[in-house]
């Protein structure tokens, strides 16, 4: 098999793999919501209740201090 054919196969399987990842992510987002693990939609309120005196949508706790900077999704 020449390098061009290998590239083509690699390209195809890579794209197929990423499609699976993408759909898995969609499934993960929606199933987490159905199962009540995480309500993603409440995060939309972060923009609306953004006064410094407003209660955070999810308060950062002492235990989270070490993880600060990570993206919670």
């Amino acid at each position: 098999m020449d390098i061009g054919t290998l590239q083509a196969y690699a390209y195809f399987f890579f794209v197929a793999f990423l499609v699976v990842v993408l759909y898995s992510y969609i499934y993960h987002l929606y199933s987490s919501q159905w199962k009540g693990k995480r309500d993603y939609e409440k995060y939309g309120n972060i923009a609306l209740n953004d006064e410094i005196t407003d209660q955070p949508i999810e308060e950062i706790s002492k235990n989270d201090d070490k993880k600060v900077g990570g993206i919670n999704e």
Partner: protein, 493 residues
């Protein structure tokens, strides 16, 4: 010591707002001069023969592109970052002297870079790479500015009260990381003076890449500068400002996450569409085309999410010029992210490449989407940072319609010019001889170049109205109470 309640500190946001307005006017004024030069070449000599070196098209063109990209847009991104960042993380800049110092340093060094860029470009000092024109000393200063911004982002995140990072923050982080990577790799250059042991000017450099590789890296950079400068941070803005101004939470937060990852992955592979029918490997060209078409999905994912955020609240579009700006921006985002993929299809590209249609595409994106969104963001911020209502709603409406007309004249004239140009370039007789010479196309395009210049001038007039409205808001508008600043921005008649 007086015990004052904690407030957000907008000092640096205000400085960047001012920079946005000033650099926007400079960049667009130069753009308008260029447009008139294209229509009437005599304008190249507008300051006389003696100064022609500084006023000709080729000297001014990089000044236009760099001042609207790295001046107006970046200032707008930073103005909104120093506003939105604090609010969605629920932490004030005033809480950290270090972050405040960094932010001020960020602005100060950025201003030095602006002066160096304007000066060097006017003197004709340039690497010759499009949108990567700066010589190595300026590049180093740019990296310093960028690192300081990064420290500011992650520093603020580090002291936040809100545990989850709102979607806009994801986009700001992506802007930071994306541009850092792109800028570093594309600006790898060798200072010739030092490499050669003292030949030539100390500031001169050559790219570390050459030939096709240079082109590939350049357009990987060039296209993704559009991605991470003109798309990602502007999406960050609309995800915050449209919900906040309309009082409606984003329609689907899940869709915003999905569109984010889609955009991050797909955009990076689309740059090859700038090199279709060039010397880069064919599969790279095809990949550039395919990924450009796929890019419609995440782009529209965000844009549709924004339009659906207005569900049941469409009366606000008619009532508020600020919402109008954002909805038109979102619509132009959809429009230009459909137009781009069409141009990236190989057969269309054969016609469109190197023509004015590309220029039209860029400008419906930047004038309709980027600049409208940045101005809307500044309008929303103004009453909150200056504690005064927006000076004039009717002036905003006037600006909106003048600029919308300007954009429409701009892109329609460039569509016609571009397609005409493409068709004339490839027209031939039965023996394969070209039917037209280049100058034939120039003569035919003259009216469209004039229409474009009129469109650009209208947009610039709108910029002056914007600047005046912002100035009056800052200095003499009615003072407002905190209670008036919940959602819809207060505006004077």
């Amino acid at each position: 010591m007086e015990n004052r309640p904690l407030e957000y500190d907008y000092t640096v946001a205000k400085w960047f707002m001012l920079a946005t307005v000033v650099l926007g006017i400079v960049g667009m004024l130069v753009g308008v001069i260029l447009a008139w030069q294209m229509a009437f070449p005599g304008v190249n000599l507008m300051a006389g023969e003696g100064l022609a070196e500084y006023t000709n098209f080729s000297r001014l063109r990089p000044l236009h592109t760099d001042s609207v990209i790295f001046g107006f847009t970046l200032s707008g991104i930073w103005a909104t970052w120093y506003y939105v960042g604090q609010r969605v993380l629920k932490v004030s800049m005033a809480e950290s002297k270090f972050l405040m110092f960094l932010a001020k340093l960020h602005f100060a060094i950025y201003m030095v870079v602006v002066v160096a860029v304007v000066g060097s470009l006017l003197l004709g000092i340039s690497t010759g790479k499009e949108y990567a024109d700066f010589e190595w000393p300026i590049d180093i200063a740019v990296v310093v500015v960028w690192v300081i911004w990064g420290m500011s982002i992650f520093g603020l995140i580090g002291i936040r009260r809100e545990k989850s990072l709102y979607i806009s923050i994801w986009y700001y982080i992506a802007t930071f990381l994306g541009i850092a990577m792109l800028y570093l790799f594309n600006n790898m250059e060798i200072p010739t003076y030092f490499a050669s042991g003292g030949i030539g000017n100390w500031y001169h450099s050559v790219s570390m890449y050459s030939g096709t590789n240079d082109a590939l890296v350049q357009w990987w950079y060039g296209h993704n500068a559009v991605a991470f400068g003109f798309t990602v941070p502007i999406v960050a803005m609309i995800y915050y400002f449209l919900p906040k101004e309309s009082g409606q939470a984003v329609y689907s937060y899940k869709l915003s996450l999905l569109a984010f990852w889609g955009l991050m992955f797909v955009y990076l592979w689309a740059g090859g569409h700038h090199l279709i029918y060039s010397t880069v490997p064919d599969w790279m060209q095809t990949m550039g085309s395919v990924f450009s078409v796929v890019l419609i999905l995440p782009s529209w994912g965000s844009a549709i999410n924004m339009l659906l955020t207005m569900k049941g609240e469409w009366q606000q579009v008619a009532a508020s010029p600020l919402i109008k700006f954002m909805i038109l921006a979102s619509t132009f985002y959809m429009f230009s992210t459909l137009e781009g993929p069409i141009q990236a299809i190989k057969s269309v590209n054969a016609l469109a490449h190197f023509t004015d249609w590309i220029v039209g595409h860029v400008h419906d994106g930047v004038l309709g989407w980027v600049a409208f969104m940045i101005m809307a963001a500044l309008f929303h911020m103004a009453p909150r940072v200056f504690k005064r209502e927006i000076y004039s709603k009717s002036l905003m409406n006037t600006q909106f319609w003048i600029q919308t007309l300007g954009v429409v004249l701009y892109f329609t004239s460039m569509w016609i010019a571009g397609i005409t140009q493409g068709m004339m370039w490839r027209a031939h007789d039965e023996f394969g001889n070209l039917a037209y010479s280049f100058i034939d196309t120039v003569a035919v395009l003259h009216p469209y170049f004039t229409i474009r210049a009129v469109g650009g001038t209208l947009y610039l007039v709108g910029m002056f109205l914007f600047a005046y409205n912002m100035y009056k808001t800052m200095t003499s508008s009615r003072r407002v109470e905190e209670s008036e600043l919940q959602n819809a921005s207060p505006m004077g008649a």
